[in-house]
Amino acid sequence: MPAIEIENLSKTYRTKKIRIEALKQINLRIDENQVFGLLGPNGAGKTTTINILSTILTPTSGKATVLGFNVANQEKEIRKRVGVCYGASRFYWNFDVYENLNFYGMLYGMNKEKRKKKIGELVERLNMKSFSKLRISDMSTGMRQKVAIAKSLINDPELIFLDEPTIGLDVEVAREVRKYMKELVKEKGVTILLTSHNMREIEIMCENIALINKGRIIREGKPNEIKSRLNFPDRIFLRLSSYKDLDFIKSLAGFKSMRLKGDGLTADFESAEEIISKLMDEMKSRNIKVLDLEIKKADLEEAFLKIVGDSNV
């Protein structure tokens, strides 16, 4: 059973003066027990999709099921099984961590004992002990975001929607949160739908992704497949003791192009990993010393910009 199944889902916001089509007949299937990334520029429809799937927003047309339940008429079943974390979330400003989480635990119908145990576990796991007695208004953005993540996990959800979850977190804490999320998928079998502007994060976290732009899904698949379908080369930068007799490079497998630029040589290949040892051996046999070497893999950001650029045309 897929964790999420979306068929021709549309959402149009209407006021007296304007009409905005936030989602235009999107189709998507997300299997259980994975981190799935939804990537797109601002206003693409990522948050609208999450809001519909978490039942806080109703669709205009189409169908969506979450964990086998229909968002249109089985909202209660969905709500008790999912957790939602928004970036830059706000909470009761004069409550501390415990009071906020206690309230949300009660909203999910958890009894006192269960709440106490779960809050203690989350405070420990997300390293919130040092500020657990602070009021929300006295916390830094990073601390508040940790509360948002804890709140999304309070009900032991089977499916978690993370909308820009590491926004405002410092590098170390963001890494820690990502690690925890991956552990949840591995150990507890949860499914995560992640949206992020941070393409590195999507690349690290997600097994599958969908690119969304102007309310439409424009590409779907594994991050590597999406990159390779676009034919982006891996780039090797070399600083050498000599730049003579380098034509042998053109005969290496997957060669695309090369040029001398600034203080070095830049060569593009389909896959740097496949030729790098051969390249080094050839250099050595020709008595050319490699003074500096840098490999830049084709990244999702480039792919994303290319695809979004194309879809805007």
Binding site: Y13, N51, S54, T55, I56, L57, T58, K76, R79, K80, V84, Y86, S89, R90, F91, Y92, W93, N94, F95, E99, N102, F103, Y104, M106, L107, Y108, G109, M110, N111, K151, N155
Partner: protein, 259 residues
Amino acid sequence: MFETVMAHIYKQYKKNIKSPSDLSWIVLYPLVGLLSLGIFALFVQSEAQMNFLHFVVVGVIVWYVYAISQKAITYGLSYDIWDECLRHTFLGKSTDEDTILGNSLFGLITSAIAVLILAGVSQLLFSFNIMIAGMTLVVALIAVFIFGISIGLMINSLILTKGYDWMSLIWMTTGIIMIVSGVYYPVEVLPNPIRMVSYLFPTTYSITAIRGAAGILSANIGLNLVYAMVSSAAYLLISFLIYKKSVRKARETGALLWF
């Protein structure tokens, strides 16, 4: 269901004990109202044809029961709007009925506390025991409480469908109820069109019934109680349906995500 209802009581309790301004609604404001108007009534008493002091004390107590119960419902939503965390409440397992019940129970507890304080103070300072109204007092105040909850739900419905600007109704309606329900004067002195409006509100009948039962004026107590209860029940039913519809509408328009 117990925990999801208790969640709303927990939130209100925590918010109130942390905020002197909110706590004042339950203790300080009713006392200020009772003392200022009670002392004023004491001053003009000699000129009045009836026991004006007792007349006003009944009005003040009823009005605060209305204000506190309405506040329990409207502030239940407002806390989420002011703290910009409304979406989290609607993402939980708690239903609309849980929300209404939880906030109403908090309103019931706090208005009962206010009544007890005001009854004690009026006995102590003005030698007036409102408890002599007996069961009439209980039934009439229940009708007022239900009316306060109903108006609160209607205000919340407007906020959810029309937006933040309608929040001023929270404070405006309490003033309107005070003017038209005969809190400080008999409704008979009101200009004719306003007097007609006053008969639409259960508070008018409840106040009259309690004044009658306390021997302040002659009134058909039973009839006033029936009017008060029936009209309150009608308000509650209508406001509940409107509220349910407005939450559905808010999920359509995305209003739950505005705050």
